[in-house]
């Protein structure tokens, strides 16, 4: 559960800083959500855009997790998603994400002794 929470908390900083290393280290190859977010963060960085907001704040009192096999786990996290903005080269900030309560479901796999994210689903609460 700690890995899942830490992973979601890296979402916004990755867009803010363009540093994708932590995100990549925690992402398994089959994770579509991980790959899409990585591609978008790299695009924001490469275009010279500036991302603000978008933080995923986990409600630690509502976390649930289960080992579904010796090497697989599922985690359910209730979060508060902050409003997100991206400013282009002209400095105009465009809202790119609505704030709100979002529930995330993550699947993880123990790969080489490390938990990695293999899939992410979400729904607005």
């Amino acid at each position: 559960m700690a890995t899942a929470q830490f992973f979601l908390e890296q979402y916004a900083p990755m867009f803010h800083t363009g540093d994708t290393r932590v995100w990549e280290a925690l992402s398994a190859p089959e994770c579509t959500y991980c790959a899409d977010a990585l591609e978008n963060a790299e695009r924001v960085r490469d275009e010279g855009w500036t991302a603000t907001g978008g933080e995923i704040v986990v409600n630690e009192a509502q976390t649930q997790g289960a080992l579904t096999s010796e090497l697989e786990a599922s985690v359910l996290l209730d979060t508060q998603l902050e409003a997100a903005f991206v400013a282009g080269s002209d400095g105009v900030a465009t809202p790119t994400g609505d704030p709100g309560d979002v529930t995330y479901g993550l699947r993880l796999e123990l790969i080489g002794g490390h938990w990695k994210i293999t899939g992410v689903a979400s729904e607005d609460s």
Binding site: Q64, L67, L71, A84, V86, D90, T96, L110
Partner: protein
């Protein structure tokens, strides 16, 4: 009219901004049409709805890396036991196995379950080892080659070849990476001499002393002093656990400290003879 124009301009600016920055690129949410599962599937997992699920919600767990004992328990759990002496678990290239991972869970009454094995001994991958070896090579700083010049007293003669020589000894470096013994050998591949008069010479020849000189440079009469420096390009090889040497794809450059010289300008002059 003016208000209408301003509104149109604002709308145009917003359209421009939205065209450049896609709205859904940074919204944190997962696309609903591409995932293989939804949040409901995770709810089933954590609520015990899926078959074979070990429900652990809100129950503290502890994880431990420890060698295994004969009884199949970790060392250091309070029991009297000795580590399995003959685990017979050997990793490639002599790498050290990662210790087993154990887990235990706290019950509602505060007691802890016995440690149970989660992951047995595993080996680091050879790709991990190779990545560390490559990093060791790129961070290696060989001692710069020693420079020797002839004449060796710091004074050379214009138009007369000055002889240059570099130490061509290979340099060895050893390291233990992931438990494997790794040797790295750096060998000079090329020497670039900077003569201090704007000219350079690049050669794979380390040079030789008089009378078999192979690397020389003749200074003109335009300068009275110069500083000779040398850039050495090192090729590298490595071997693991005393095996065969394997070449690196990359090279390393080092710069030797410059050597200052005085350039003399001897001139022939007729003198009176007493004979």
């Amino acid at each position: 009219m003016i208000l209408g124009f301003a509104a149109a301009a604002t709308a145009l600016m917003l359209l421009t901004a939205y065209a450049g920055v896609p709205q859904d690129w940074f919204d944190g949410r997962a696309d609903t049409d591409e995932g293989e599962f939804g949040v409901d599937a995770i709810r089933d997992d954590v609520s015990g709805g899926a078959p074979g699920v070990d429900f652990v919600s809100l129950r503290p767990r502890e994880y431990l890396r420890s060698p295994a004992c004969d009884a199949g328990t970790p060392v250091g759990n309070g029991d009297v036991c000795s580590p399995l002496a003959a685990i017979a678990f050997e990793c490639p290239a002599g790498m050290t196995p990662r210790m087993p991972l154990w887990v235990r869970q706290q019950a509602d009454d505060g007691t802890w379950s016995p440690w149970t094995l989660l992951v047995w001994y595993t080996c680091p991958s050879e790709a991990d080892l190779l990545a560390l070896v490559e990093r060791e090579w790129t961070e290696l700083r060989p001692e710069p080659s020693r420079i020797a010049l002839q004449p060796g007293d710091g004074r050379v003669y214009a138009t007369v070849p000055t002889i240059a020589m570099a130490d061509d000894s290979p340099q060895l470096h050893s390291a233990v990476l992931l438990g494997a013994e790794v040797d790295i050998r750096a060998t000079p591949a090329n020497y670039t001499w900077h003569w201090g008069d704007g000219e350079t010479t690049t050669t794979s020849d380390p040079g030789a002393p008089h009378p078999n000189a192979t690397v020389t440079h003749a200074y003109g009469r335009a300068l009275d002093e110069a500083t000779v420096s040398l850039t050495t390009t090192w090729a590298g090889e490595y071997r693991v656990a005393g095996g065969a040497w394997i070449a690196f794809d990359t090279v390393i450059d080092t710069s030797s400290p410059g050597v200052g010289i005085e350039v003399l300008h001897p001139r022939a002059r007729l003198v009176a003879s007493n004979n």
